[in-house]
């Protein structure tokens, strides 16, 4: 019940702006701490891979980015659905603020995947199933962002792009499995090093810490983006005037 009341209050733009403002410094500090620990463990403590040597260490960036690229898409589509069904303005703001962040994670996963692939495959790009899925995911993100940018009316833009995000989320598994199937058809069983079947704890720990760090980082950036979006959206409200006055004095 208290939780419900908290969310109810949180969903009002003004309260969101206030509460998120006080949360950001703490979350940002957490991100920094986790990133430092994760990177230290990953880059210095974890042993080199017996096959790939040191180059596998890019995994500690690549794998969490790839996870986040999917996770953010789910959040975006979920928030868009909440916004469309219950007409909650803040949910639309969360959805649309997530899109560029998710696209950045996807892009990061693609770049690190390509860097990782160079020593492994001897080429910057091969049509590996996972990389290809990730590329298509980037297209899906770009579609949502482009549609959002195309409308002049914010309300229409949010809802139209939200519908596209939901259509996309239904298609993500279909695209993923069709690409997997296509890949086995054309390349035969390629050795994919992206999913190590058994991973040593000394590698797993930094990986998980990095994943948590990326998630908290996402929340921080999301809140920062959403705050300015809310401020812009509510620019006619009195509390925004008060806030801006306070800021300038």
């Amino acid at each position: 019940m208290r939780l419900f009341r908290f969310f109810h209050r949180f969903a009002s733009p003004r309260e969101f702006f206030r509460i998120s403002g006080s949360m950001i410094p703490w979350l940002a500090a957490t991100t920094l701490l986790l990133l430092l620990i994760g990177l230290y463990l990953g880059l210095f403590v974890a042993p080199p891979d017996y096959q790939q040597g040191e180059s596998y260490r890019i995994m500690f960036i690549h794998v969490p980015s790839a996870w986040m690229s999917l996770f953010v898409y789910m959040v975006m589509a979920g928030a868009a659905a909440i916004g469309l069904i219950w007409r909650i303005k803040l949910a639309h703001v969360i959805a649309m603020s997530s899109a560029p962040i998710g696209a950045s994670f996807t892009f990061l996963a693609l770049v690190t995947g390509s860097l990782w692939g160079k020593p492994m495959w001897g080429a910057w790009w091969v049509w590996d199933a996972r990389l290809t899925s990730e590329l298509i995911l980037l297209f899906l993100y770009l579609g949502v962002m482009a549609l959002y940018a195309a409308f002049e009316e914010r309300r229409t833009a949010q809802r139209a792009a939200g519908i596209l995000a939901i259509v996309g989320v239904i298609n993500v598994p279909i695209i993923h499995y069709s690409v997997m199937w296509w890949n086995t058809l054309h390349q035969g069983p390629t050795v994919t090093k992206f999913d190590a079947p058994s991973i040593h704890l000394s590698m797993l720990a930094p990986l998980l810490i990095m994943a948590v760090a990326f998630t908290v980082f996402y929340v921080v950036v999301l809140l920062m983006r959403a705050r300015w979006e809310v401020l812009d959206q509510e620019q006619r409200s009195n509390w925004v005037d008060d806030y801006l006055e306070q800021l300038s004095s």
Binding site: L140, T156, R159, I163, L164, I175, S178, W182
Partner: protein, 229 residues
């Protein structure tokens, strides 16, 4: 209950017949996608080679991608002119469920583009040295795949219909969603040339058709309500 069912059916047939009639009176819009299909396919021998083995190797992909692009270029006709002359807001305000109207319009679109593309595809396939005994599979994949292209495409058009220049944006929105259909369609045609069993792909294409048939009209209807605001 029967009455409701009946009136929805009437709405479907009314819209279907209206749109087919409009397409028939607008010959150029009917012929343009077909002409596009023919021209794009015939560019490949010109740009690649006239060697029949090379052509046969790329034929499944060429036929499928050209059909997909031809469909995509024709999608705007589903809603664009209705949007511009105000008919679309009348359809949205009609007392029939909007998804039924959407289905009628998509069905008419498929009959006047996808179906015709499928019918002329054997002639184009033969020009790419495609073996005649495998033409059946090509036609089947297109028959199962092109309605899905129209259904998914209708979501994209509904989302971009209010924008002045929606063309490129539409491609960006829907081409990623077309990828599974392309994969299954083209690979079925490709494998049939090697006399492999392609029943799996045909089932998958049929499954995608059923899925998009049940979901896409609702997404399109929701999109229309949003973009007409």
């Amino acid at each position: 209950m029967d009455g409701v069912h009946n009136s929805a059916m009437t709405a479907f047939t009314t819209i279907f017949r209206r749109d087919v009639k409009l397409a028939l009176r607008h010959r150029s819009e009917l012929i343009n996608p077909l002409a596009f299909f023919v021209i794009v396919v015939s560019l490949f021998p010109l740009g690649l080679s006239t060697d029949s083995r090379t052509l046969l190797q790329v034929a499944p992909a060429v036929l499928w991608i050209s059909a997909l692009l031809a469909t995509m270029l024709s999608l705007e006709s589903i809603f664009r002119s209705d949007y511009e002359d105000g008919s679309l807001e009348q359809l949205v305000l009609s007392d029939h469920p909007l998804f039924v109207i959407v289905l009628g319009k998509v069905a008419a679109h498929w009959c006047t583009t996808g179906l015709l593309l499928t019918l002329i595809s054997p002639a184009l396939a033969i020009s790419l040295a495609f073996p005649t005994q495998n033409l059946g599979i090509l036609v089947w994949t297109l028959l199962l795949g092109t309605p899905t292209l129209s259904l998914i495409g209708s979501i994209g058009v509904a989302l971009t219909v209010g924008l002045r220049r929606g063309g490129i944006l539409l491609a960006l929105l829907i081409l990623p969603l077309y990828i599974p259909i392309l994969i299954f369609g083209a690979s079925a045609v490709d494998m049939s040339i090697d006399d492999l069993d392609v029943a799996g792909q045909l089932y998958l294409l049929a499954a995608l058709l059923v899925l998009s048939f049940t979901l896409a009209p609702f997404a399109t209807a929701a999109a229309l309500r949003v973009t007409l605001e």
